[in-house]
Amino acid sequence: MADSWLGWTLIAGTAALVYLTRAVFVLPGSRLRLPPLAERVLRYAPAAALAAIIAPDLALVHGALAVSPDNPRLVGGIVAFAVAAATRSVTLTIIVGMLAMTAVRLIAA
């Protein structure tokens, strides 16, 4: 991967796309209005994308479904969901989720 074209292409493309999302209405400087359907699609896309990234990282081990209490990531993730719901704190969610994941890893090992 080191210094490969893939890394740089990923960075340049992601930067351009992210900038586009931020500038799309601010840069024209006029009162553009989103059509209602677009507004509704935009409402569901971020949560769907995040959930689609999170779920496999928690529940799959080497590509196979691993829903059991000795899967460290699944337990850490569920604990993190609970902490995030209760505290809304990014810092606490990360710290407590990491501790839970590590505890299960050490016990299961």
Binding site: L6, G7, V26, V41, L42, A47, L50, V90, T91, I94
Partner: protein
């Protein structure tokens, strides 16, 4: 005149300091995750400077590790960051009178925390001629804090043993970001559908499972909101 700008800038900067508690761990994790995913430190620094969006950076990295094709990574970054399109639409009336360089700059520094702070403080119709200096002041604090934290993760992350699986912190931070988005039942259903399809489709080539999952999540959310509204109308 000049004093008003400076005081608006300082006011914004001071208001943003408490937001650093959320930004700094986020930047640290992003820095760490970039090098864990195989980017060189130079690439990681440039990515932090150019992209400056922890969620988009963290979302593409697991895909980079999984050797997903570029277009899947781009589509994912775009989907995760579509919330900025909404911020952009909300902020446009505030900034429409500013010069183009200002609009270019303020678009670049736009992040979740600053958006929430600014919109909570000002209304578009307010007569607050220096509010863009407030936005800039707060953004400068958040930008410096986030970049510094990211570099700490990039250059200090190697000191941390692999067995600790610190890259899992990136997924945990996405969980923390997902939670405040789950504000109504339709969004929750969309997220559940997306998660389920992502698990079922994990074996598909080219990470197509992820794209199917996002599409399924949006469709489920739209369908659920339609049912909700039909029910509200019927009641």
């Amino acid at each position: 005149m000049h004093g008003d700008r400076m005081s608006a800038f300082r006011d914004g900067a001071a208001s943003a300091v408490s937001l650093l508690f959320g930004m700094v761990p986020w930047g640290l994790v992003a820095g760490l995750a970039m090098v864990s995913a195989g980017l060189t430190p130079a690439q990681a620094v440039v990515m932090g400077l150019l992209v400056y969006a922890g969620s988009a950076q963290l979302a593409v990295l697991p895909l980079l590790i999984a050797k997903a094709p570029l277009w899947v990574m781009y589509a994912t970054a775009l989907a995760v960051n579509l919330r900025y399109v909404i911020y952009s639409a909300v902020l446009a009336p505030y900034f429409e009178r500013l010069s183009r360089p200002w609009r270019v700059l303020l678009s670049y520094v736009m992040v979740d925390a600053m958006f929430a702070l600014f919109v909570g403080r000002f209304r578009p119709e307010d007569r607050a001629p220096h509010r863009h200096w407030f936005f800039l002041g707060g953004s400068v604090v958040l930008w410096i804090g986030w970049q510094a934290a990211s570099w700490l993760g990039i250059f200090g992350g190697a000191l941390i043993p692999r067995a600790w699986s610190l890259e899992f912190a990136a997924t945990l931070s996405l969980i923390a970001l997902l939670m405040p988005l789950l504000y109504d039942r339709a969004v929750v259903l969309g997220a559940l559908a997306a998660g389920g399809v992502a698990l079922a489709g994990a074996g598909l080539p080219f990470n197509l499972g992820l794209i199917c999952a996002i599409a399924a999540g949006i469709a489920a959310g739209l369908a659920a909101s339609r049912v909700q509204r039909a029910r509200a109308r019927g009641a």
